[in-house]
Symmetry: C2
Amino acid sequence: MSDPNDLSVFLDLGWQRLTRGVADKRAAARHPVLATVSPEGRPEARTVVLRAASRSAATVEVHTDGGSGKITSLAAHPFAQLHVWDDTARLQIRLSTTVQIARGPDAAQKWQDVPAGARIAYGASPPPGTAIPHAHAYRKLANRDWFTVLTFEIESIELMQLTDPHKRAVFKAFDGWAGAWWVP
Amino acid sequence: MSDPNDLSVFLDLGWQRLTRGVADKRAAARHPVLATVSPEGRPEARTVVLRAASRSAATVEVHTDGGSGKITSLAAHPFAQLHVWDDTARLQIRLSTTVQIARGPDAAQKWQDVPAGARIAYGASPPPGTAIPHAHAYRKLANRDWFTVLTFEIESIELMQLTDPHKRAVFKAFDGWAGAWWVP
């Protein structure tokens, strides 16, 4: 039985559940919710697919259509929080991040690794979010010019575990992820 | 087979999946993600419990601890987006809202309906988010003074269904929820 007050054990759990999302399509962390702030300052959230997670680099990666609304928001406010609720571990993971946006030539290497069947997610005509006269009045382009890699650099990680009693900790990059317990 | 271009049928589906979250603890909409903007302008997201949903009033309701960080954020920026991914219906629901915050005497009637065993969620000493020396160095207060009712008034509803082909529509209060198809 590990020490319930060992912050490093708790952080290990968070990264373990997070990295499962990259390898296992059925893991909770496969589909985080990405929260951003719109150009008008309004909160937004949508499901995304976790493509990579690196504890050593303190980054997570998401791929998106360069024409999507989240790009407009991230260009205006380059901050995001990624949220995962992992029911198996009864664990909420919140990553506070800044974002780097790479597209076109800067994302060309990663485009090579996108399976042909998955490329349809990138590019649409008219662009995503355009009003259209009926539900299917659009084409998907599968166009590498719209393929966009979002690299989220993690500034802090908040973990909340709904075991009895609840426990919560926050880990920050600036002090080497030493972490601190917080009141849940 | 209903007309796939019938916007009202699509909106009915959204409300049907949303209201299930109030009655059915296992429904996806039971646990939306609540996205807000912090006083510093940063995006935030956390899981909440859906307590009520009214199509006629265009509101949804969440209960929280008045000392929680989300209250600080909503006091500074009284806007929220509530996000649900309903895997059964392959449907993403996004509610763009403004919030009314009621606490103390204004929430007294609803406090009466909170089961005794659930009251522990309201009030903590020290308050939520305080750094503490070990994981369990806090007490839950079950105090009605901290019980807070968040009523989210819905300005728009975005639905995205990942059937083949994908479909997406946005419905806004100002035109009586007539709705429009959007490119997914």
